[in-house]
Assembly symmetry: C2
Homo-oligomer: 446 residues x 2
C-alpha cells in the first residue's frame, strides 16, 4: 500500500526466547519422552493456571522468589502473580481438592514458570519445569521411585552420563543434635548448601556468624560434609557420627533402604551416589534429597532436584500431606544439550516430501498423500508447482529423508521415483496398491 | 505445630480453572493427537514467550482484544502484556526470523493464551489454542491442506459429526464490486458476520447504517448470504452474481479448486460445505475462510476457524508474507466433549497396578516392576504395604485394568495372580521369564 507506516521492531523481551523449529522439535520430543516416563509409573498429569492470587504465591519460595515474581493488578483490581514454580501451585491444588484426589496422589506437571531474575547464559525468565510428586505417603518406596524416575528420565532423554546425588536430611539433623546445633539447622543448611560454590573456609565463616557454631563444631560439620567414597563406606563412617540420635539413626536406615531399592531396580553405583554434602537450602525438606548433574557439564548445576517433605500444603490446609518429588529443569537441560551439540538438527517433522511439479495433477497428488497419511506416514506435499531442483533444495534444507517423485511420466506409468536425499540413491516403486507403496517407503526409511 | 497460623484459602482466580487428572489426562491426549496430525503434514512446532512488549500486541486484534489484554509494567519498567492469541506472536516471529525460516513455512503452536473477558459457561480467561499456518505461499494447495488438517484433527479427536463451513472473501468482494459497495466492505463484513446471531432484519438495518447501503443493496447482499444447497448448486447461483468482476470470478474459481481438492482427498460433501454466509469479521482475511461446527453442539460456536491472508506481518516488516491457517480452540472443544460426555473418565495413566503386601519383598517388587517397564508396560507400584483389599479399592477408583498380585506364597512359587478389575476374573502367570510375563499381561489387556 502507499500509506507510510512506522514499522514496529519485532523483538522479544529481555530474558525471554523464541524457539525456532530446529530447537522446538527436539524440545517438544523431550516433553513427550518425559510424559512417557511419568506415565510408565502411573503418574497422572494435572494443570493449573499461569496466574494465581498473589497471596497464594508470595512468601513461599523465600525473599528472592518474591522479588523475582511477575506481579500486577488485573483489570478487576485483584493482586495477581505469574507462578514462579510448580510446587506452590501443587500445594494450593492438593489442599483445594484433597477429598477428590485421594492418596497416594502421584502427579506430574510440565509447564512454563516465570522469574524476573537477571538472565545469564542458558537461563531465562520463562522456562519449562517438569515436576513430579507422590503426595500422601511416608513410605520409602516413593523415595526410591523418585530416584528411579529421575534415572529413567535421563536415560530416555539420552543426555549422556549423569550422577544422581542423594542424601537424607535426617542424617544431618542427627549430627546437629549430637553437636548441640539442632536449633540452628536452617542456618547450617543454608551455609552448607553453598559448599560447592564458595568452599569450606567461607562456609565455616558463615556457620560461625549465622549459626553461632564454634570452630570445633564447624570442623565437625565440614568433616561430615567431606565424607566420600562408595555408599557402604560412607554409611559406615556416618553411623558413629549419629549414633544415639534417634533421627540420625533413622536417616541412616532410610539411606540403606534407598540404596537397596535402587540396586534391586538395577541402578548402578555410578549413577546414584550418596553425597552427604548436598543439603538443598530449602527448609521444607525433611528426608531424602536429590540433586542430579551431567558428568559432561556439572557447572550448569543440578538438572533435577527435589526431596521429601513432611507437609506440602500446611499454609492452605490443616490436613497433613507428606510426600516426595523432584523437578526436571527441562529448559536448563535443553540448553545444556544444545551446548553439548547433542540435539538433532532436523527442521521438519515429515520424513517424506512429495514435490509438486506435474501442474495439472494436484488432485492426484492430494489423493496419494492423503492415502499415505492414512497408512501412518508423515508426508509433506510441496504447495507450489515449481522446478524439481528448487523443491529438492527445500527438502535438503529442511531435512526430509526421502523425496517421492511423480512427474507426468510417472503418473502415466503408475511408478514413482524414490530419492534418498542423504545419498542421492534412487529407486522406483509402483504407487498401487497403496499399502505396498507405504511398506516400500518404510523399508527404505529403515 | 502449636503455632497458630491463619490458613490461606486455596482458590483460583475468577475465570481460571484447574484441571483434575480425569480432565487433564484426555486433554493432554488431545494435544498429543493434534501434534500427530500436524506432523503428518510436515508442520513444525515453534514456541514464543507468554509475555511480549505491549506495543507488539496492542492494536492487532481490535479494540476488544486491547481491553481484554492482561497488561502491566514489569520490574524493569517495561510495558508488557500476556499474549491473547497465537497469530500476533506468529506475525512478530516470522518478521524477526524470515531469513532463517525460509518459505513455505508451515508451523503449529499449541499454547495457552489469556483474555480478561467476562467468563461464560465453557469459556475461560486462560485457554489453550492450537494454531497452524502455512506462510509464504499463495498456492491454493495450502488452502486445501488447511481444510484437510481441520478434517483430520476432528476425525482423530473423535468428536463425532462435524461440518467445515467454507467460503471465499473474493466472492463477496466481487458481489460488492458489482453492487458499488466496495468501499464499505469492512462494514459489510462486520454486519454479515452477525447474521447467525441477530438475523437478516437487524443485519439489514446495520448495513444501511454503517455501510450506507440502500434497501435494494441490502436485499441483494442478504439474498447472496442466504444461498443454500450443495456446493455445485450454490456455485452455479454465485457465478452470475459476480460475473464481470475479476476478483469475484477468481473467488469462484478458487472455490472450485478447493472443493475439487477436498473431494480428491476423500472429504465428503457432508463434512465440508460452501457457506456463503460466513464472513469472519476480521479484516485481514482475503481469500478462503473456515469455520467448523460440531453437529451435536453448534451453539458453542466455531471450534476451528481461520482463513487466507495476503499480509501476515506487515506491521513488523516490509516483506510480503501471504499465507493461510486456522486455529483449533482446543479448550473450547474440550469443554464441549466434556459436556457431551464424550471424554474417558480414567484417573490413571498405568493400566496395571502391582499391590504391595508382602512387606519384606519390596526389593523383589521393585525388580519386577522395573523389568516390566523396560518391556514397555506402564505399571504403578503401590507405595505402602497395606491390606490387599484397600489396594484393590484404590485400583478400582483410579481405573487400573489389571492388578498383578504377588503375596509371599506367589513369590515363593514364582507365579503371580492377575486380576481383571472390571470383571473380577483371575488367572495366573509365571513371573519368569519376564518377556513372557509381559506378553501374557498384554494378551489379557487386549
Amino acid at each position: 500500500m502507499s500509506e507510510k507506516r512506522q514499522l514496529i521492531q519485532p523483538r522479544t523481551l529481555k530474558g525471554f526466547r523464541d524457539y525456532l523449529p530446529t530447537a522446538a522439535i527436539p524440545r517438544e520430543a523431550m516433553m513427550e519422552t518425559a510424559r512417557g516416563v511419568f506415565q510408565s509409573y502411573g503418574f497422572v498429569p494435572i494443570d493449573t493456571p499461569a496466574l494465581e492470587y498473589e497471596e497464594i504465591l508470595t512468601g513461599k519460595g523465600g525473599e528472592e522468589s518474591d522479588k523475582q515474581m511477575f506481579r500486577f493488578e488485573d483489570a478487576g483490581g485483584r493482586k495477581v502473580a505469574m507462578r514462579f514454580d510448580l510446587t506452590v501451585p501443587l500445594a494450593r491444588y492438593v489442599a483445594q481438592y484433597a477429598g477428590e484426589l485421594g492418596t497416594p496422589f502421584k502427579r506430574y506437571h510440565i509447564a512454563p514458570v516465570w522469574r524476573g531474575e537477571n538472565p545469564q547464559r542458558g537461563r531465562y525468565r520463562e522456562f519449562v519445569q517438569c515436576d513430579f510428586d507422590t503426595v500422601g505417603t511416608t513410605s520409602m518406596t516413593a523415595d526410591i521411585e523418585t530416584a528411579l524416575v529421575i534415572h529413567d528420565l535421563l536415560v530416555a532423554l539420552d543426555v549422556g552420563e549423569f550422577t544422581i546425588h542423594l542424601n537424607n536430611r535426617k542424617v544431618l539433623s542427627g549430627l546437629l543434635e549430637r553437636l548441640g546445633l539442632s536449633e540452628r539447622s536452617a542456618e547450617v543448611l543454608r551455609a552448607l548448601d553453598k559448599l560447592a560454590k564458595i568452599g569450606p573456609e567461607k562456609v565455616s565463616a558463615e556457620l560461625q556468624k549465622t549459626a553461632g557454631a564454634s570452630p570445633d563444631q564447624c570442623a565437625k560439620v565440614l568433616a561430615f560434609a567431606a565424607l566420600e567414597g562408595d555408599t557402604e563406606a560412607v554409611i559406615a563412617q556416618l553411623e558413629p557420627l549419629v549414633a544415639g540420635s534417634e533421627i540420625g539413626e533413622r536417616g541412616v536406615a532410610e539411606l540403606r533402604e534407598l540404596f537397596g531399592g535402587l540396586a534391586a531396580a538395577g541402578v548402578t553405583e555410578g549413577r546414584a551416589r550418596l553425597d552427604v554434602s548436598i543439603a538443598r537450602g530449602l527448609d521444607y525438606y525433611t528426608g531424602t534429597v536429590y540433586e542430579t548433574f551431567l558428568d559432561a557439564l556439572p557447572e550448569i548445576g543440578s538438572i533435577s532436584s527435589g526431596g521429601r517433605y513432611d507437609e506440602l500444603a500446611n499454609l492452605y490446609t490443616k490436613q497433613e500431606l507428606p510426600g516426595v518429588g523432584a523437578s526436571l529443569g527441562l529448559d536448563r537441560l535443553f540448553g545444556a544439550l544444545e551446548h553439548l551439540g547433542k540435539l538433532p538438527t532436523r527442521n521438519t517433522t515429515a520424513r517424506i516430501l512429495v514435490p509438486f511439479f506435474a501442474e495439472d495433477r494436484r488432485d492426484d497428488y492430494l489423493r496419494l498423500v492423503t492415502a499415505l497419511r492414512r497408512e501412518g506416514l508423515a508426508v509433506e506435499f510441496y504447495p507450489d508447482p515449481k522446478k524439481l531442483g528448487a523443491q529438492l533444495k527445500y527438502a535438503d534444507k529442511r531435512g526430509h529423508e526421502l523425496a517421492l517423485i511423480l512427474g507426468e511420466d510417472e503418473w502415466r506409468s503408475g511408478t514413482a521415483q524414490v530419492k534418498q536425499l542423504a545419498t542421492g540413491e534412487t529407486s522406483t516403486l509402483p504407487i498401487e496398491p497403496i499399502g505396498a507403496l507405504a511398506d516400500g517407503l518404510r523399508g527404505i526409511l529403515g
